[in-house]
C-alpha cells in the first residue's frame, strides 16, 4: 500500500549547504594540520612497530597444541578438529600410548599432527569443537615460510607455539 513519507522541514542554512561544507572542511584541515605538525600519528611502521600488545584476549591467530601443568599432551587424537576443519587443513595420525607410559590410562595420542597453515582460515572451529581443551588459537598471525613444506606446522612446532596452559579441566584423573 502506498503511503506518504513526511519530508523534513529544512532551515535556510541547511538548504544552501554551505555551512555543512565549511564544517566538513574544518575537520579535514584539523587532521591535515595535526599530521603535518606531528601532533598525531596515524601510520604504524610495521614490522618494526607491532600492535601485539593491544591484541584482544579473543584474538584468533595460529592454532596450536598445548600441554597442561603436568606435562601431559592434552590431545587424544579424537580427530574431531580434522573433521570440522572447513578447509581440511588438519591431518592427524592416531597412535596408542604404550602400557608403561605414565598416561597409559588415556590410551590414545596423536602420532602425527599436521596443520597446513596455507589452508588454515583461522576460523577457530577446531578450538570450539575440541573436547579435550587441547587446541587453542594463539596470537601468532605472521606465519611465513619459503616453501609449502615449511608452512605445514607439525606436532613439534604446534607444541612449541602452544606451550603450557594451566587452569584446564583434568578429566583423565583417577576418579574418572
Amino acid at each position: 500500500m502506498a503511503y506518504t513519507v513526511a519530508r523534513p522541514k529544512l532551515t535556510f542554512a541547511e538548504k544552501i549547504y554551505l555551512p555543512a561544507i565549511v564544517a566538513g572542511l574544518a575537520i579535514t584541515w584539523k587532521h591535515l594540520i595535526n599530521t603535518l605538525t606531528g601532533r598525531k600519528k596515524v601510520t604504524m611502521q610495521y614490522p618494526e612497530e607491532k600492535w601485539d600488545a593491544n591484541l584482544p584476549e579473543h584474538y584468533r591467530g595460529a592454532p596450536t597444541l598445548v600441554k597442561d601443568e603436568h606435562g601431559r599432551e592434552r590431545c587424544v587424537a579424537c580427530q574431531l578438529c580434522e573433521f570440522i576443519c572447513p578447509p581440511r587443513a588438519i591431518r592427524i595420525k592416531p597412535g596408542e600410548l604404550p602400557r608403561e607410559s605414565k598416561w597409559a590410562k588415556v590410551e590414545k595420542y596423536p602420532e602425527e599432527f599436521d596443520i597446513d597453515m596455507i589452508r588454515c582460515i583461522y576460523c577457530g572451529l577446531c578450538e570450539e569443537v575440541c573436547p579435550e581443551q587441547a587446541i587453542f588459537l594463539r596470537k601468532d598471525y605472521a606465519i611465513t615460510g619459503l616453501s609449502r613444506e615449511e608452512m605445514v606446522h607439525n606436532k613439534a612446532k604446534l607444541y612449541e607455539l602452544g606451550g603450557v596452559r594451566t587452569g584446564l579441566v583434568h578429566k583423565w584423573n583417577e576418579k574418572k
Partner: protein
Amino acid sequence: MCLIEMGMPKVGLDRKPLLDADGRPEIAWIPRPQISCAQDIAEGMAIRTDSPLAQDARKGVMEFLLINHPLDCPICDQAGECRLQEFSVEYGNAGSRFREEKVKKPKNVVIGPRVTLDDERCILCSRCIRFMKEVAKDDVLGFVDRGSYSTLTVHPGRELDSNYSLNTVDICPVGALTSRDFRFKMRVWFLKETKSFCTSCATGCNTIIGVRENTIYRQTPRDNPDVNDCWMCDYGRLDFHYISAPERLTAPILRPAPRRISYTAALDAARGLLTGRSPGETAMIVSAKMTNEELFLASRLRELLGVQLCDILPRQGTADGILMSADRNPNATGARVFGLTGSLSLAPGARLKDVVEGVGSGKIKALLVFGEDPVACGLSVENLRNLDALVMTSLLPNGGTELAHVVFPSAAFAEKRGSMINGKGRLQRLNRAVNPPGDARDDWEILRDLIQICGGGDGLQTIEDVFKNMAAANPVFLGLSLSKIGDLGLDLSDKLPSL
C-alpha cells in the same frame, strides 16, 4: 530404549468395547511403561511410543546407564556408531547429577588375538555372550559379580579366539568390545562405505568396505539372509591388508632385461611371445579368484590362442559348519561355468599336473598365468626358466613374477567391479572401493588388450560391455546385467550345469 506405554480397549459386561464420545474405543492404559522388546502384539492393543511417560522413562534409564559410564568418547573407537551415544543425544542430560565415585572396572584388556575389552563402557546387554554361545558355539564369555559391579569377562584360562570373535565387536552397542586390527586407525565417520562381498572363500559373505582416501580401514559384514545373515569370519574380514601392501606391483615388468616399462610396451612384448605358436604349445593357469567377466575373457583368449590345457589352482580347507566353506576359492563355480577347469567331470585343479608335466617335458613352450603364482601351482623354478614365454598378471610379487617375461600388475577385489558365483550358485557383485595403485589395471582390461593384440578385436569399452557379451555367449547369464544383480545377489543354482 524400548520403553513404551501400552493399553487395551475397555470392554463392558457384554464383551463389546466401550466407546468414547467420538465413537473410538476407550483405552485402559497400563500405569507403568512396558518394555517393547518383550511384549507380544495382540489384537486391539494400543501403543504410545512417544508419550511424555515413555520419554520420561527413557530419560531415566539413560541417566542410570550413564552413571558409571567413563565418558571417554574421544578415545573410543565406537564413537560415531555408538547406540549409547545416539540415545544420549536423544534422551540424555547435558550434565550428570551423580556425585559419588564411579565404579572402577578393568579397561583396555586384551581378551583375544583380535578383540580388546573395556568393561567400564559395557552396558551389560549380553549380546556378545549370546552370540558366542548360540552362533559361534564357543561359550567363552560371561558375567561375573553382581549389581553395578557386574563385569563381562572371558572364561579363566581361555581367550576369545574364535574365528568369529570380531562379530561380537559388531553387535556390541557400545565400545566395550573393539577390534584390535581397527583400534585407533580411523574414526568411523570418515569412512566411505562400499557394498561388496568377501572373496576369501566360496561362501561370499556380503560386506561393507570402509575406505578413507583410497585406503581400506576395515571390512564389516552386511546383512544378507540368503548368504551370511549379518556375520562373517575373522579370517575373511581381515583379509584385505595385502591390498595396501607397499610391495604391490605398480608397473609392468619385462624380462630378460629386467626393467620397468610402459603398459603398451608390455602388451607388444606379450604379442611377440604369444602369437605364432602351434596349438598345444601354450598352456594357461587362471585363478578362481577372478571375476566371471575376467574368466569369460580368459576363455575367449584361450580359444584365440588354441590353448588346450587350462586349469585353476584349487584351495581346499575344511568347512567350519558356520560360514566358512571348504573351498577357499571365491569363484571356482565361475571357472567351471566357463570350462576353464579342465572338464566338468574332473575335479578343479586335476589338470594342473598335466601342465606341470608338459612344461617339464618341454611340450609346453608358453604359459599364461592369471592371478596365481606358478611356483605355488607346482611348477619348479628350473622348468619355468626353460619356458619360451611366461606371461603373468599379479597383484603382489611372487616366485613367478621373479621369472616371468612379462608381468602385468592387476587389481584386487576391492579395486574392481565384476561378479562371482559362490559355492551355492549365487551370483554376487563386487564394487570398486579404492583405485588400483600406479599402473595396475583391471584384469578385464588386461585380458581385453591381450585378446586385441592377438588378433581378436572386439571393442569392449566398459565392464558392462563385457557382461553383455558374456550374457549373450553363456546361457547361465541370459537376460542379466551387472545392475540387475543388485546388492544382495541372485540365485543361479537352477541355471548352472550340475557341478
